[in-house]
């Protein structure tokens, strides 16, 4: 295939200006261009969360009134959130622009099947990827230490979709689970005691990960390391690692959206942080949680002027009844 098959342009043009008339810089923005040959992948990808960005929509929409949601869909989602969706080329040819900056072609113009360090990390490099490699200041995730990369857990189906439209990644059934590889054989008393009460990362997160404050806010953003344990907002019977989510009360004020139902959702969400380690303060000593309450979300630590829903995530852990 020649350049023109994807990038179009004018093959009769003798000068650059003439030849580039009608040129398409990013042909894979239109999935159909790739879908001509990659039929199934193209069909699935058009419905995938990487392409639709519906997860971002679902994550914030419950804060809006019906009228506000209409404004959001028109003025924010299509113009801002959706502009972040990944095209086929964003992962397989050229790193996507993040904040207007791209790291360029992956390997000349060669189509690369996978290159997680560039492609996944280009978008997920703010939080997950540097936590995974230990470059955010902690220990590398034990899976990275063993040579595993994103695709070893997050399969192709998760990248390209399975042909169904999902509102959020939380609705996808076949997501990676620790238990898929690590079955509980009942020989670890701590696993038996905490089963269905504490997430795996609740004990095995090696420590601090990135918390985002005030992102998308009028006055700019701020990221800080932190380790937070609290109730899972999606299942309040479970203790897990929480991450501060950047939406604050005035995030959408410049677009005329006050968020009438801001308090319907918390500012802390369950996060499967990617800095897993066999031994942590919590696995070494029960006192880390049951006496010292290290990392536990407390009333005095809640973000200022945050959502009222945050209060419900505070877990008052008790001493062990010996």
């Amino acid at each position: 295939m020649g350049c023109i098959a994807c990038h179009k342009g004018n093959k009769q043009g003798k000068k650059k200006e003439d030849a580039h008339k009608g040129r398409i810089a990013r042909p894979s923005d239109n999935i159909n261009n790739c879908g001509i040959c990659h039929i199934k992948a193209g069909q699935n990808y058009a419905k995938s969360l990487h392409y639709t960005s519906f997860g971002q929509h679902e994550g914030v929409k419950h804060r809006f009134s019906a009228a506000e949601l209409k404004t959001f869909d028109k003025k924010v989602f299509e113009q801002s959130c959706r502009s972040c969706h990944a095209s086929c080329g964003s992962c397989h040819v050229k790193s996507p622009p993040v904040g207007g900056i791209t790291t360029g072609l992956l390997q000349g113009h060669k189509f690369i099947k996978k290159n997680e360090g560039k492609t996944c990390a280009a978008c997920h490099g703010g939080r997950v990827y540097p936590e995974f490699t230990g470059e955010y200041g902690g220990t590398p995730d034990v899976h990275y230490q063993k040579g595993m990369m994103c695709n070893d857990c997050h399969k192709k189906q998760e990248m390209h979709g399975d042909g169904k439209i999902y509102k959020s990644k939380n609705d996808v059934k076949d997501r990676p689970k620790c238990q898929s590889c690590h079955q509980d054989k009942g020989n670890q008393i701590a696993h038996t005691i905490h089963k269905d009460k504490v997430s795996c990362q609740g004990c095995h997160s090696s420590g601090q990960y990135r918390q985002c404050f005030n992102c998308h806010a009028v006055n700019g953003s701020k990221a800080e390391p932190g380790f937070i344990l609290g109730k899972n907002p999606r299942n309040k019977k479970t203790l897990t690692t929480l991450r501060v989510i950047p939406t604050i009360r005035n995030t959408f004020e410049p677009r005329g959206i006050k968020m009438e139902n801001f308090d319907a959702l918390p500012n802390y969400w369950d996060s499967a942080v990617h800095n897993i380690k066999k031994r942590t303060n919590r696995t070494r000593s029960c006192d880390s949680c049951h006496v010292n309450k290290e990392g536990f979300l407390k009333q005095e630590d809640l973000i200022k002027d945050g959502s009222k829903a945050n209060d419900a995530l505070i877990f008052d852990i008790k001493p062990i009844n010996k």
């Binding site: 360090g117 200041g137 990275y144 230490q145 595993m148 990369m149």
Partner: protein, 308 residues
């Protein structure tokens, strides 16, 4: 008198020959790429690639294990590049089948000054765990693969795990309180560049300019030469200076009493590792420690003696 002269000459000869004795065993603390090529197929040699996993998978020295640098020097307690907890370090060695009697060769990249000292920082962690024979590759992966086009593999090597039986050698590591107590007693070596030593410059995460009181300056940047040499040659990488040049640099600052106590520091404890390795493994100093907290920790303490 004549007898004394003869004895002196013999002693000098022995000192010169000392590294050659080590070489005769097929092992040297600083290995050239050609040296490594000769011992690569030796089943007793474990080669460790400390570059990122994705770089390792793209291509590595055949047979090398991929164990990324950050495993050996994670951030901890708000400080960068800290020695792993003892049980974590033993887990890491066990998982990778490294024993105290293994011969380990560490290589990485030499692209930037911080990259160049990753290997010695890993060597220090291995020695801290009492692995006896540890060597670093001069010139790193770039010299091996890019410059010399030596064989490269994409086959991911699965380590044969075995429980690590060595003991932790706490004498190689020291802390702030100990350093405070040794001012004026031990030779305290600042391995940073002269501008940092003089207090003219500092890294953003270091609270204030200056150095540990009474420290002497032995900059790590002097350890390396670009390769290939020559003003007009495009460098592929950085190699260690020859042993005589390294000895001359060091002895001019710390002297030649191999029994004296030396404490090396920098900003995070990483840059200091190059001189720790050379003083200990190349020159034979017997009591060299790294102050791991270094200036990142020292300068936060208002009571820590500093100058200028």
């Amino acid at each position: 008198m004549k007898k004394m002269k003869w004895l002196k000459a013999l002693l000098v000869s022995l000192l010169i020959l000392l590294p050659a004795v080590v070489w005769a065993e097929g092992f040297s603390p600083i290995l050239s790429t050609d040296d490594l090529a000769k011992i690569l197929k030796d089943p007793g040699v474990i080669v460790i690639d400390i570059r990122k996993v994705e770089d390792y998978k793209t291509g590595h020295i055949p047979g090398a294990l991929g164990i990324f640098y950050n495993n050996w020097a994670p951030g901890a307690g708000g400080l960068k590049n800290e020695m792993p907890a003892d049980d974590d370090l033993i887990d890491l060695l066990s998982a990778n089948g490294i024993g105290p009697d293994s011969t380990v060769v560490v290589y990485g990249t030499t692209s930037t000054p911080p990259d160049r000292v990753d290997v010695t920082r890993v060597a220090w962690a291995l020695k801290y765990a009492s692995v006896k024979k540890v060597s670093v590759l001069s010139g790193g992966f770039e010299k091996w693969a890019t410059r010399e086009q030596k064989p490269v593999s994409q086959e991911v090597v699965k380590p044969k795990s075995k429980p690590y039986k060595g003991t932790i050698n706490k004498a190689l590591l020291t802390n702030k309180d100990y350093v405070k107590g040794q001012i004026g007693k031990a030779t305290i070596v600042d391995a940073r560049e002269p501008a940092f030593f003089k207090g003219e410059n500092k890294l953003p995460f270091v609270a204030k300019n200056g150095r540990v009181k009474n420290a002497v300056n032995l900059p790590t940047i002097q350890v390396f030469d670009k390769y290939p040499p020559g003003e007009h040659m495009e460098p592929c990488c950085w190699t260690y200076k020859d042993i005589t040049a390294l000895k001359n640099l060091a002895s001019g600052v710390v002297g030649s009493d191999l029994n004296k106590e030396i404490i090396v520091y920098c900003d995070t404890g990483k840059v200091a590792s190059a001189w720790w390795f050379i003083l200990t493994d190349v020159m034979g100093f017997k009591n060299v420690k790294i102050y791991d907290g270094s200036m990142e920790e020292w300068m936060k303490d208002a009571a820590a003696p500093t100058e200028p």
